[in-house]
Amino acid sequence: MRLPCPICGERDRREFYYKGHALALNRPDPDADDAEWDDYVHLRDNPAGRTRDLWYHSAGCGAWIVVDRDTVTHEVFGATLAEDAEARDAAG
């Protein structure tokens, strides 16, 4: 599998560290209720299909990126820098 790093271009999967679903970027407010925090900390979907997840370009440029890919077909649709995805999510 090759991932399109927004900074370095297309790179081999072994240069990346896998973190997990990109919901880690949507941190609840500190005073959110327990159910919301429980969901954020512990609960993950296991989608058969399209998913967005966080990867760290550890052996490359050191950027955190959000990769949009399909877990069934292994197709990779694209990637954005996590900082950009976070800003976009925050802007709604």
Partner: protein, 179 residues
């Protein structure tokens, strides 16, 4: 005060010559890592008297080489950084933290193809290109310094494995080429 001697992690290693490629230890001179503070890239470039190269690029200017070295990071090699960058960037002297080797010859790319997943074809990685990637299982940096010439760097603590992997790949390629 204790007097510390700077030792060479690849001392006693001889250049390896094979058909199509020569592997040599490379002296990089002083190494300074520069991490400009947010929005200060242009000011850092002005203080250094050079434009900071774009991601994936490395520029040689006299003795000094400036290499893009990761997200918002640049490495200055070959000459000490005299400019005052206080307030502009985080600066660390990494001169004793890295080892480097040069692969020179038409088979240089073939040697590296055994060790790194990088696309090193001239269209994807032309002269002046730079990348952080892996060499075997080691984090490494690559610069194409000429048509058939590459500089490869890794952490000093991995010098032995680094040389072993490179020398092994050189011998393997030489054997396949009938050397």
């Amino acid at each position: 005060m204790i007097d510390l001697d700077l030792t060479d992690p690849l001392a006693g290693v001889s250049p390896l010559q094979a058909p199509g490629v020569t592997l040599m230890v490379a002296g990089l001179g002083p190494l300074t890592l520069i991490l400009p503070f947010r929005g200060k890239e242009d000011a850092v470039g002005a203080a250094l008297g050079a434009e900071l190269p774009a991601p994936g690029r490395s520029v040689q200017d006299g003795d000094r080489r400036i290499t893009w070295f990761g997200k918002e990071a640049w490495l200055v090699s070959g000459a000490a950084v005299e400019a005052d960058l206080s307030g502009l960037a985080a600066v660390t002297d990494q001169s004793d933290g890295w080892v480097a080797a040069t692969l020179d010859g038409p088979a240089a790319r073939e040697v590296l193809a055994r060790l790194t997943p990088l696309d090193l074809r001239p269209t994807a990685f032309p002269v002046g290109a730079a990348a952080r990637s892996e060499l075997g299982h080691m984090p490494a940096a690559f610069i194409r310094t000429g048509e058939d010439r590459f500089a490869v760097m890794t952490f000093r603590s991995m010098a032995g494995t680094f040389w072993h992997e490179l020398a092994d790949a050189v011998r393997g390629v030489a054997a396949r080429r009938g050397g």
